[in-house]
Subunit: 135 residues, 2 copies
DNA sequence: TTCACTTTTAGAATTATTCTAAATTACTTG
DNA sequence: CAAGTAATTTAGAATAATTCTAAAAGTGAA
């Protein structure tokens, strides 16, 4: 097999970020397979498990940079903890309050009607829908 | 004028909470006029301004108790800060990202259709809609 | 290579929140 | 209304998530 592995360096360069060792390692974990939801801590643990040295501060830096570059979306569902979602397309979330799990669901079928206009002087950034459930 | 001032002690008792001096003071600020959005810090500052001594820890305790008793609703819109809303009826929020302001809007006109069923083993807790805007 | 600039790092600092143990206060009951 | 008991408040320490800092290491252009 040749050329089948995604080119994370280009992905990063395209986002205006130097493809350093740790950014590539983080990108590999984040974007190497299907969509993911991570916290800084969980991502840090995962990358360290691949034997590439990364400081937690670097994970925070990278998550913020990736988010700013549009590679990730930050989801705020619980006080005191940020989740980052590799799915940046339009979609919504299930949040299982009892165990802190977050799941995507497509926005295709969802229709929201009757939203008021943004207060004047502001422009719409996005609409978040979080369906909270408990076990 | 007689008997026009709301009876915060009864409100608290009805919620199963002893009407202590600081809880009554907090309730007065929270529920004394129209609906409010507060953070622990902002509420603490407001109540201290009424010359009733309250520790910040007490504000946190009370906010959590009021929330558990259904007197307040906790709204999570920004990482690392919790807002509490005195409006516990069904409604949604505008969040002005650029300055951290939160505003209610009624859910009357809003219709959400096509939401998926809760994952099995879970029951719906609530649906949050946050319309994020920026200046 | 070398140089200029970026990035990473460990650890300290910051911020929001919770915990602790002691002091105070609220609600009985006599 | 005096006491006793349990609930509450408090100051400050503790914790947790995140950001900052200054120094060391890495990156890419020439």
């Amino acid at each position: 097999m040749s050329g089948t592995s995604p080119d994370f360096a280009s992905l990063l360069r395209g986002a205006g970020l130097r493809p350093t060792r740790q950014r590539v390692a983080l990108a590999r974990v984040l974007f190497g397979s299907g969509h993911r939801h991570v916290t800084a801590e969980s991502l840090h643990a995962e990358v360290k498990a691949t034997r590439i040295p990364v400081a937690l501060a670097t994970v925070y830096n990278a998550l913020n940079q990736f988010r700013d570059a549009g590679l990730l979306r930050e989801v705020v569902v619980a006080p005191g903890r940020s989740y980052f979602d590799t799915n940046t397309s339009h979609h919504h979330h299930f949040f299982i309050e009892t165990d802190g799990e977050l799941h995507d669901f497509p926005s295709d079928k969802v229709t929201i009607a009757g939203l008021p206009a943004p207060p004047k002087g502001t422009r719409l950034s996005r609409v978040d829908v979080v369906v909270r459930v408990r076990r």
